[in-house]
Symmetry: D2
Subunit: 360 residues, 4 copies
């Protein structure tokens, strides 16, 4: 049997269970989170709030939960639980963070409200911050680079999809000295339509959105702040919408100051990821899937990372691919929660993906 399943069993044996509620359960991210929590061996779902859908069955909004006995509840008067997950739009959590901690010991926020370290960054990239006192306490959730700080963390800020894909691709090169900071780094990201959320709108209607290669946020994308905060260097970031629903693919073009060998790169990536349960290397080789592709990780919490050297341009091209709903959002939040609460890291995240699969 696959390793994933074995760890699943041991997790089941562990047995410990916490109670969890989800705020904002009607969106794509909230639904994905609920799907994962419903199958998590150590989690019992207490409440799922939605003012608009209160009383309705969760399965009527999220088909994967048709089997589960869950109904949306009013967001007021939450019962006390162990963990509160906030899957609300940017700006909501920072305004309610005190109430969140009134009912929960651990708060996991999937929005951008607590990802940056300083109020100054929120002034620069967002519209300021309502609860700056919490920023120092918040731990950014990208377990592969911040695992130690996540243990016993009480406020977890789950990393953004595009930032996660980019950071996972570039971090080892900085960590192992292939890059020192200050080099030219261009990040060209391609994302699926689920990043836009369940809202819709003309540009995301099927006739206008299908088949696109559409530049959006060509410059000044807010995820730049997350990336630069963790890599300690500036990146030139551009995002494109392409025809898939799930997935984010980041191609990073970097120009080391000195000569770099394949061995140097392999050493950096192996050094960072060889023991990571959710990172796969894909760098060349044979077959159809030679480099990271969103298709190959659709529905999973895996990130695929790979690279290629361009000697004539003294460039390293780094590819990284994730499912933006999983490793880029709900899956990452559950992974971080597993670390924080001492559960098996892969608990609830065992899906290994599908082949073949269409536009994920």
């Amino acid at each position: 049997m696959a390793a994933g399943t074995e760890t699943d069993l041991s997790a089941d044996d562990a047995g410990e269970t916490v109670t969890a509620s989800v705020i904002g359960g009607t969106g794509f991210t909230g639904g994905e989170l609920l799907r994962l929590l419903a199958g998590h061996p150590n989690v019992e779902i207490s409440e799922v709030t939605s003012r608009s859908k209160a009383g309705k069955s969760v399965g009527s909004v999220h088909p994967p939960l048709r089997g589960a006995d869950l109904r949306f509840t009013e967001p007021d008067d939450l019962e006390s639980i162990d963990v509160l997950f906030a899957a609300t739009p940017h700006g909501v959590s920072m305004g309610q963070i005190d109430e969140f901690f009134d009912v929960a010991d651990t708060v996991v926020d999937l929005s951008a409200d607590f990802r940056l370290e300083s109020e100054a960054q929120y002034d620069e990239w967002y519209d300021g911050h309502d609860a700056p006192a919490y920023l120092e306490q918040a731990e950014y959730a990208l377990p592969e680079i911040n695992r130690e700080n996540l243990e016993d963390a009480e406020l977890i800020a789950s990393g953004g999809c595009n930032a996660t894909a980019t950071i996972l691709g570039l971090y080892p090169l900085f960590e192992h000295g292939v890059l020192e900071g200050g080099e030219q780094v261009v990040v060209d990201v391609k994302v699926g339509s689920s990043e836009g959320g369940a809202g819709g709108g003309e540009a995301s209607s099927h006739p206008e959105r299908s088949g696109v290669v559409r530049p959006y946020a060509p410059t000044g994308h807010r995820h730049e702040a997350e990336i630069e905060q963790f890599l300690g260097t500036s990146v030139a970031f551009t995002c494109h919408a392409v025809d898939m629903v799930r997935g984010a693919s980041a191609t990073s073009h970097v120009f080391p100051s000195g000569p770099v060998s394949k061995g140097d790169c392999w050493k950096a990536y192996r050094g960072c990821y060889e023991d990571e349960p959710f990172v796969r290397m894909a760098a060349g080789g044979s077959g159809v899937y030679r480099y990271p592709e969103p298709k190959a990780v659709a529905g999973t919490n895996y990130a695929e990372v790979g690279f290629e050297l361009d000697r004539s341009n003294e460039r390293v091209v780094v590819f990284s691919a994730i499912d933006n709903m999983m490793k880029g959002s709900a899956g990452q939040a559950v992974h971080a929660t597993n670390v924080a609460l001492g559960f098996e890291e892969t608990a609830g995240l065992e899906c290994t993906g599908f082949h073949p699969v269409g536009a994920p």
Copy 2:
């Protein structure tokens, strides 16, 4: 937690494990089967054969198995195992069935070789049969309608994707007397490109295949034989290729001889399916997903079934949707094996699907 997960745990507790090998592991169906078996709590994979890929890692062909430690082996000299799965093209199993039983107590065939009851049917619909003596012994695997016969079955013929979708939609109407046989039944099926297998060819190349609504096998589709064998009535069957990779959707237009009420239909479907772990009813209601859709069951072993009455035409329109790789093939084979060997029926089949998901 979701019911599915609870049964998963109890299955894990059960603990009993059988050994299994897969013949023809390089195709889409073989890969899907391996993915399921690798995560099955009661199965240990022994060998996966492929003459062309012998020695290569299974993960190099099937991305979901990159994590598993599995390599293709030569098909000759199979070790003795408890269960042998044959995921070979039509015609192969009937020629090797004796060898299969030399090494295994239970043989599960995913091809059409043992689905029909008589040599005469194979003469009519195929090119005859090499081992007709096995036809009587073989049990057709559509557990929802043939569960009793599958218990302790030694030769299991896993049902075809289009036939499975169609039969699941129509069977209750015949079983509960809404239809008596002899009525006009038109079945209009829409299928994804994975039904064509990994082979490829010009018509299934991306430029020619994407965006199609393409009639294929407009008449005389071989699955008609399976359907008529189990429903005991003739159906007018037509198949279309549409732009998805996974999925089969059957719309059956039936014309009862007398008046039929919604209650009659609900009674028939509830009577057959209310205790079935892998059949969901979707007949109207609110939200986006009101009727069965392949998207809603992609990656799962669920079949969705629904209907609508057309009073002005005295017609019942029946919709059924499955993932052709799962409920239409590998998932059904595992489900049938679970029944035959006394495992938890849902063991290895707990995936509840994803939302949102693109062309599955």
Copy 3:
């Protein structure tokens, strides 16, 4: 050179030019109509109305018209023109038809407001009719079956997309006695997302709409009325949304009362269509495109029609495919206008389509 182009030249020589305005130019249908009129050798566009976009350039809404010097104008105080095209939602034209005729000699309505013959039909299928006096005068525009009546017609009701596809497939069988009326006819239609119009909404957002095989209007579709009015027999009609933007494909399953040969069918189709500039037969043959497909007619005013016999079920399966925006809407309106005003029938409609093309 292709026949289409030759007739184009002669049309150019003809030279006569009429003035035309379009009401409701912001929708998909209005945009398609404008694209055709902008390239029409005998038409000069006078005004394009839109209350919401008045003053804005038409190209900012419809990319194909970026090159044209056209701006939206207020719908009030239209200048007198020769032809007025109404691309407004159902119900608008019937309320303004008098004003339409105040400014134009010929009115071409693309909505359903004047397609049916009697007020009684509008009471049954719609919410009644505001201007029943015009129903008798209105001519249904499906030039292939109603050409004579369209000559010099003053009020043209352009046929609906699903009805057009269905009628073109079945009409010859009735016209040439293969069917007499009263036989069982099941019509299973697959359509693209542009049929939903530019509005959008959750169900038509890209994440929810892509990759679907989604039953909608499973029974009681209003186009049934158009079809039955012209074929003089009832049809059991069901519609599915599939993953394409443009296109409607109708598969009609018919059961003649007596034996029918391929020759009988060919005779019927050739008899009706061999001289038609916009109908192509595709019935078997070799290559990838053996039967009618929306892909093969995307962007064109062609309808493809084909059939297959199912001897074991005494069934004729009829396939017909169109581009719902062209032959199913704007193209058909322009074709009918060409007939009514005595222009070359193919004027402005010469596009022969593309190969390969994705989801059209």
Copy 4:
């Protein structure tokens, strides 16, 4: 009427007609070329060669040509014609160029055989060259930057799709001094499946190819040679396959040595393109289509070009989009032929595209 149509008419009036034959008419590029030539007012198609399909109707391979009376002929003993178009795989034309000129005054090659200036480049990027003597005589066809040299050219080398998209985006910045050469230039291209040609193969089968964001030729793409030859600077080039059939989108990230204003960029682009019939600027503005997109030019010979400034990274992001089958291949070849033979530049290329359209 649209400008395009007016110029069409004048072209028709011109009347002069040349004879043309196409070598290699079964591929996607050959089919597109035939479609354009069949509708070209100044071209009469003489022969279309194909050894494998000789005698078969061209329409059986290319649906848009079903209306045309054209059959494939043996490639031997071509009749003398005015213009010979070679739509053959790389390496064929260089071996037969002498025979080509035996039967034609003008040769238009759509392969890469005559795009580079020196034998040394072919040694570096390809497998050398069989007819280097012709390299000096050959004129690279990107009419927007090489129009003068194309007039009366006898050997035209039609530019490659990815190179064309990239060069059109960057050329004005070099031409007008925004860039001087030597700056860091990263080009990240996204292309559709038609670039792979009609061949097919596992990686381009629908199940494996749909929904991808797949790095291919991550470094060392041969089009780098064309780009660097015309821009006189090196570019770091990477290509991705995305889910569309037609289209190439190039995003170029450039880092000028000094400060650059929007006005500087607009001046450069307007200076180069304001009178070009096939280049549209799309840089911001309102609506859904704010930047260049393949969807907006699908089926047309237009290139869309746009840009955005990234002050924080002192970067200019340049977007350019074309239909790889048209402006990137057959359309460009026809445009160049129009220039060489003194026809109306837009003759045969008037299609303005469609809205909405799916994955083009």
